[in-house]
Symmetry: C2
Subunit: 365 residues, 2 copies
């Protein structure tokens, strides 16, 4: 039998047990938004540090903008917010399509806000996203409860671009959210496949949502993701599905033993839960708290954050070095010629590379 969540009969029937609240000011609505550029970087910073999410949201929009003047303001805001950032717990959340990620994030978020008194920012990385800034209806219906919670800030993935670019913007958004007082950050992978590595490189805890019927899930592409997980949680452990979920959890536990132990010294755990019926949520948060306290004690928390900061500096340098080369029109033209020569064995790959670089550096001298 299909899970009630996917059953059309149940659609619109809210069985969540979170406390319903009146809707608050939605920063995405045009009416709540001042025209961008009306404020100075100093005003943005002041308001962000006060926790004003309308200004926070506009600052994120500036950093996502492709206009140079917007980016330059955004850069100043980020640098000034940096000393006030870093104090949140950053949690990466991924899972196969159909694992119930949105329902889970809705439940997790509502739980941490209501029960653990956290302020939560939910960000996403989706390099394939073509969503325009206006159409956040998707996220509002995906996370119905959370989108009405005044202590939650939900921001859709930056619109389409290279994975590196999208990920960079998300990482910068984390800084702004933390400066605005959000002490818990979820970074969700929406794209399937590559964005997991990018998310993993900006979070403290990487949570993998799985489902039962797991035989196939253990295989193929998902193995690399399993190796990154600090915790695996099996969703839909409710009703007649509990046994299957427990079985899947046991399989994941076995599979995890085959991987080399992670550098953190932490043994990844496998838990079962139900996002839809909100069962087992507190245990997941206990696990995350335990992990954070464990790695803060053994020094791995800072080590990972420092490694990530260095990683993004070098990634960014390498990306820009390549962009500068490959985006030059002269290089582009010559590269096409060289590629054809290399394929036809007229010159070696290495000679072609050498000639391209000579041309590039001569140009600049």
């Amino acid at each position: 039998m299909e899970h009630p969540e996917n059953d059309p009969k149940y659609v619109g029937l809210n069985v969540n047990k979170g406390i319903s609240r009146p809707p608050v000011i939605n920063p995405y609505l045009k009416s709540a938004r001042k025209k961008r550029g009306n404020y100075s970087p100093g005003e943005y910073i002041e308001q962000i540090l006060k926790g004003n999410i309308i200004f926070l949201s506009q600052a994120v929009t500036l950093l996502e903008s492709r206009k140079n003047e917007h980016q330059s303001i955004a850069r100043e805001i980020i640098e000034k917010c940096l000393p006030f950032s870093g104090k949140s717990v950053r949690i990466g959340i991924t899972g196969v399509p159909g694992a119930g990620k949105s329902t889970s994030i809705d439940a997790f978020g509502t739980y941490v806000i209501d029960q653990r008194h956290r302020k939560l920012a939910v960000l996403a990385i989706d390099p394939s996203s073509e969503r325009s800034k206006g159409s956040i209806l998707g996220d509002k219906t995906r996370m119905e409860e959370l989108s009405r919670n005044p202590h939650a800030f939900i921001r859709p993935s930056p619109t389409a671009g290279s994975l590196g670019g999208v990920a960079r913007k998300t990482r910068e958004t984390i800084i702004l959210c933390e400066a605005a007082g959000f002490d818990t950050v979820f970074v969700e992978t929406v794209g399937v496949g590559q964005s997991e590595t990018a998310v993993h490189s900006m979070v403290d805890f990487f949570l993998l949502i799985q489902i039962s019927g797991a035989g196939d899930e253990l295989q193929g592409i998902k193995r690399g993701i399993m190796e990154m997980a600090d915790g695996i949680i099996v969703n839909k452990a409710d009703g007649s599905n509990i046994e299957k979920a427990n079985l899947a959890a046991a399989q994941y536990r076995n599979a995890l033993q085959l991987f080399p132990p992670p550098a953190s010294g932490w043994t990844p755990r496998v838990l079962t839960y139900s996002g839809y019926y909100q069962i087992g949520i507190s245990q997941i948060w206990d696990m995350i708290d335990e992990y954070i306290s464990f790695v803060k004690t053994n020094g791995y928390f800072d080590f990972r954050r420092n490694s990530q900061a260095k990683y993004w500096m070098y990634e960014s340098i390498n990306e820009q070095l390549k962009n500068h080369f490959y985006q030059s029109p002269k290089i582009k033209k010559e590269l096409a010629i060289k590629e054809s020569k290399v394929i036809h064995s007229e010159i070696s790959s290495f000679q072609a590379a050498r000639q391209m670089l000579e041309m590039y550096f001569k140009e600049r001298d």
Copy 2:
């Protein structure tokens, strides 16, 4: 019971059935070597095209040299040899330590030379290699039979350097060997872990040697390598070990079914053999011949070679772009400062990257 190959009782007792030959001129001996630099690039090319392995060997030494004048001669030789290259079958060979790789290569090499009338070059990629040019005793005893075979050219891995550098030299050595008439090239991975990808990117067929007692072999790091394999061969299928080897082969066959089908359209095969007793070697070569004929027919052979040539051009460009940046003394100094600032959250990773690149490009303008 331990396999006889590893049993000290049997050491030195040659039970191989290959035909013994008188030793031929060994190009690695000082007495057989003219002083390098005595010949013009034209002389090298002429002699290499005639199949003179003393000149071939010296040319490889030139390309491995760090001296600019040697590299510039080597470059000219490679470019002139390029039109005469490409006609060999390039086979990558890897396997876990203890799988009997050296004995297997000795047996395979002797077989293809004696039974299939091939001329064989055996190269290796070992980024961790610290062996000096003189100490090839290792390779001579590792491949006892083959090192005495006049139709074999065995070249140790270039000495220590970055994986990219070592791999580049090996790939250029393939060009020279092919120009010298070698129609079969083995590229062996000696290092454990990363060099497999480099080898895979320069061969037509990737052969993975495994052994029985395979439960553990299926796990961990080796999975990525299994996915690259065009054929898996289980060694030590002899005597009381045959059943275990067959069982391991069945396990590998099952495991292979879990991977997505390779782009070549070829279904990777699993065979058993004994390198030490030379059982099942011809079946391995039948498989490789069948593969080559299969991919030459469906066009994948050329496609893979072209992709590899392009891959090495771009790899080489990207490597040199990075080298140019990171090896600049001014950049090095500033990078250390920036890294520390990034770790202490004084500037963001992206601001640091931007500032580094501004400095780099300003310098050059």
